[in-house]
């Protein structure tokens, strides 16, 4: 197998008249950590949604782990090995913390019962405590429903969910936006651990410091197009901002934007 | 004495007449108190109501059956609790095997549709249409016994040698309702098919058809319209020369009779298993007998 885990060619998404994503060519190597930056509405989340099959793309190809893929939904993507923290979090408000953490891959006993197999509540509760500790968040009662959690607590539950299960590629869309100082640090530690374990990562973030701390490479989106592909060591904050605002455009992307 | 009554449905005009007949009779009798329940055309609910009556310790039960096929279970429930039971208006299917302490007061439903249909057939002949006449039929809710029975009566009559000059153009349900009948009739008129007769499973639908025909400018002398029930609206319509035939059922008499039978059963008297009260045909000739 090649060392490229994910590759998109000409990935495009139009919403009616809105061209949210145009001709995105993107390559991610095995074990590489890449950041996606860009203005609000630049198309970052749209890009994530096309890769994970939440929406059906207008055109273009996605190659994951050597195969051309066209996921019908996020379930397919997860089964192929892509774990995602979406910007909208995807939590079930009426369920409590362990239920949400294990949503869709519950621990069960008596598995021969098919859809009626029995849940192993105790094991899930214990794993939940362990998972949450990694994010450093404080939750007074994990049996409370998600509807009663603060913005940051919800975000940590979503992240803990991703971090609890091993995968080939992790995608996080603005994971620390709602987090406090300590929690942000913990989540950054989680990301560092992924790096050590050799898992690939796509991180969408507006936080310049964080990006330079954590990733190997920075991709900049502007008005639905990729306008720069920068190695962390060959660039700096001001440079990136110039690409974001449109003051500069990467040489290889001259035709775009 | 406490008597429980379960009526098939409250919003049926005919059964309301019967109910009022019971209430009037109750007022005349001393020490009899009725408790009347609405079975809302639901067999199962009716059986539950009977069990509720038994639990409340009533002295007798009167049932106007929703479905005459379902009476076996009711008879069994009342018999095992030792409570007298009187069926009214609709003949139970287990007539032959009715337990002791149970009886039946009614008219024979088959008569109603047949009487009306046969008279309509005669009227058409009298109008000189024996060479061929065309009719529409408005049916009640198809889940309702009386609707099915009266429709069948009509079709049986026009299947007889004497009346087979009548062809049925179409039959549809107007769910006993004047409004639905009005719309349905207008729909039929709009197809432009000529017709000579309209039979409604009840008077309300017949009146709805009359209103639609009047709105379309069709002369009511040319069309024979028949219904069943002899409601006061229908009598007024007949006086106005619109409705031609309806059938009177002495429902108030049935109601009163059922109470008398129930009291006799409570007192352990000997009672006829079946008391029949006949239907009467109402036409412009004899309408005077039925006006208040």
């Amino acid at each position: 197998m090649s060392d490229i885990i994910l590759e998109t060619k000409g990935l495009t998404k139009h919403y009616g008249g809105v061209h949210a994503l145009e001709d995105a060519d993107f390559v991610l190597k095995n074990g590489e950590h890449v950041a996606i930056m860009g203005d609000n509405g630049a198309g970052k989340s749209t890009f994530v949604r096309q890769i994970t099959g939440v929406e059906q793309r207008t055109r273009g190809t996605v190659t994951f782990d050597g195969n051309d893929v066209n996921f019908a939904g996020p379930l397919d993507a997860r089964e192929a090995g892509i774990e995602t923290v979406f910007q909208t979090l995807a939590l079930a408000d009426d369920l409590n913390v362990p239920d949400n953490l294990f949503l869709g891959r519950e621990k069960t006993k008596f598995n021969f019962l098919g859809p009626f197999r029995v849940l192993d509540y105790k094991a899930m509760r214990e794993d939940t405590m362990a998972g949450l500790e990694k994010t450093g968040v404080k939750i007074p009662n994990i049996r409370n429903t998600i509807a009663n959690m603060s913005g940051g607590q919800r975000q940590c539950v979503a992240i803990a969910r991703t971090a609890t299960f091993a995968s080939k590629l992790t995608i996080m869309d603005e994971p620390t936006a709602a987090l406090g100082v300590q929690e942000t640090e913990q989540v950054e530690n989680i990301i560092r651990t992924l790096k050590k374990q050799g898992e690939s990562l796509i991180l969408v973030s507006h936080n310049m410091r964080q990006v330079f701390d954590l990733v190997d490479r920075i991709i900049v989106f502007r008005r639905g197009r990729i306008v720069a592909n920068l190695n962390k060591d060959e660039t700096d904050g001001q440079d990136v901002v110039a690409y974001i605002t449109g003051a500069k455009t990467g040489a290889e992307y001259e035709g775009a934007a | 004495q406490q008597i429980g009554v379960s009526v098939a449905r409250f919003d049926d005009n005919g059964l309301t007449v019967m109910r009022n007949g019971m209430a009037a009779h109750e007022a005349k009798l001393d020490g009899v108190s009725l408790q009347v329940e609405d079975a809302t055309d639901d067999v199962a609910k009716q059986l539950d109501q009977i069990n509720n009556f038994i639990a409340s310790g009533v002295d007798a039960i009167i049932v106007n059956a929703v479905d005459t096929n379902a009476t076996e279970a009711m008879s069994a429930a009342a018999a095992s609790a030792g409570v007298p039971l009187v069926y009214v208006n609709r003949q139970p299917i287990n007539m032959a095997t009715l337990p002791d302490g149970q009886a039946f007061v009614a008219s024979n439903e088959i008569e109603s549709g047949t009487l009306a249909a046969f008279r309509m057939c005669q009227d058409l002949r009298a109008q000189g249409k024996s060479g061929g006449a065309r009719a529409y039929m408005l049916m009640g809710q198809l889940s309702n016994q009386a609707a099915v029975q009266r429709s069948k009566d009509f079709e049986d009559v026009i299947g007889m040698d004497m009346c087979n000059f009548i062809t049925l153009i179409d039959k549809q349900t107007a769910e006993w309702s004047r409004d639905k009948a009005q719309d349905l009739m207008t729909n039929w008129i709009s197809s432009g098919e000529p017709f000579d007769a309209v039979f409604g499973n009840n008077d309300e639908m017949a009146i709805g058809a009359i209103q639609a025909m009047k709105a379309a400018g069709i002369s009511m002398d040319d069309v024979v319209v028949g219904g069943v029930d002899a409601t006061s609206d229908a009598l007024v319509s007949m006086q106005a020369g619109e409705m031609d035939v309806t059938v009177f059922q002495d429902l108030a008499g049935q109601g009163a009779g059922s109470i008398d039978t129930a009291i006799a059963l409570i007192n352990g008297e000997d009672v006829d298993k079946a008391v029949f009260i006949p239907f009467k045909l109402v036409t412009p000739e004899n309408i005077g007998e039925f006006l208040p």
């Binding site: 139009h14 919403y15 009616g16 008249g17 809105v18 061209h19 949210a20 145009e22 203005d39 509405g41 198309g43 059906q56 207008t58 055109r59 008005r223 639905g224 | 409250f10 919003d11 005009n13 309301t16 109910r19 009022n20 609405d38 049916m139 198809l142 153009i169 179409d170 039959k171 549809q172 349900t173 006993w176 309702s177 004047r178 409004d179 009005q182 719309d183 349905l184 207008t186 729909n187 039929w188 008129i189 709009s190 197809s191 432009g192 309300e204 009146i207 709805g208 209103q211 709105a215 379309a216 409601t231 006061s232 609206d233 007024v236 006086q239 106005a240 208040p292």
Partner: protein, 357 residues
Amino acid sequence: MSDTSQGTGGLTFDKSKRQWPNELNVLAALILIVIIFEILGAVFVGQSLLFDTNDRFDSIFNEARLRIIIIQVAIVGIIALGVTQVIITAGIDLSSGSVLGATAMIAMSFAQVAEVNGAPNPKAIFGPAFLDLPVIVPVMVGLGCGIIAGIINGILVAYSRIPPFIATLGMMLFARGVAQWWSSGNPVSFPTEAYAVIGAGMNPVIIFLALALLFHLVMNYTLYGKHTFAIGSNEAAARMSGINVPRHLVLVYAIAGMLAGLSAVILTSKNLTAQSGMGLSYELDAIAMAVIGGVSLFGGRGSIVGTVIGALIIGVITSGFTFLRLGAFYQEMVLGCIIVGAVALDQWQQKRAAARA
């Protein structure tokens, strides 16, 4: 909408690819259904549904049928106008049919004549002082009953936080009880001549269309309409934005109730009688019209125009069945399929529109 679509820079936006209005889909469905009936008619009964094929009427269209198509849905259509607004707030009104029934009995009791065929009215509900009243009295009584029922619905939904389904289910049972209790289930007949005019001929249709136009304007161009949509879209947001949500909900349900009361007046006038069973299951027909017309049961989406077309679809189907002389059994089966089909088509169209390049 005009063409001055604006934005604040940013992405490419292709104005020519604006959204296809939802009402056009519903209209397309209506036309499709008419075509199907025309084809079936030509094949099976050798007639045309809408066009004149025999010489009873001398014009291109079969005018009698066009008229009945719309008359038979006008009364339920008036209810549907109110139900549309309720559904847009993410509510539902199951009570409208029964409220119609109860209002019919009550209003008609104030519309009776003193003499029938020369004899005193055999069905007078009240004493002679209440006979031969001016027509305004029963109309006002009818509207009033509807409004009261609507206000109670609205208060239950808005202030007690009872789900609309339950609040109006309770009202449905209650109103049905009232309808049967009033005059102990006996029909109320013989209205005054002035009253009989209200629902005569094409009057129900004129009232229906006038109200449809009025509420179309209200929903699109007034504060009332905007707040109705906002509440249906996100009630919490509407509340936080400072809309007085409970008061507005009471207003919406009151209007829906008033329209049910008005339908009762028109229906009794058209039929010259009031019966306790009137209006039974009209609520489902009204909801079906709204939903076929593209109103979303999740709230926030829908239009009066859509509902009017939805009503026409049901009218065409009803007339079409009779026209094809389809056995009564099949009518319900096919109607069920068509309701589902219309909504499925709408859903599919919308999905496609969203995905369209």
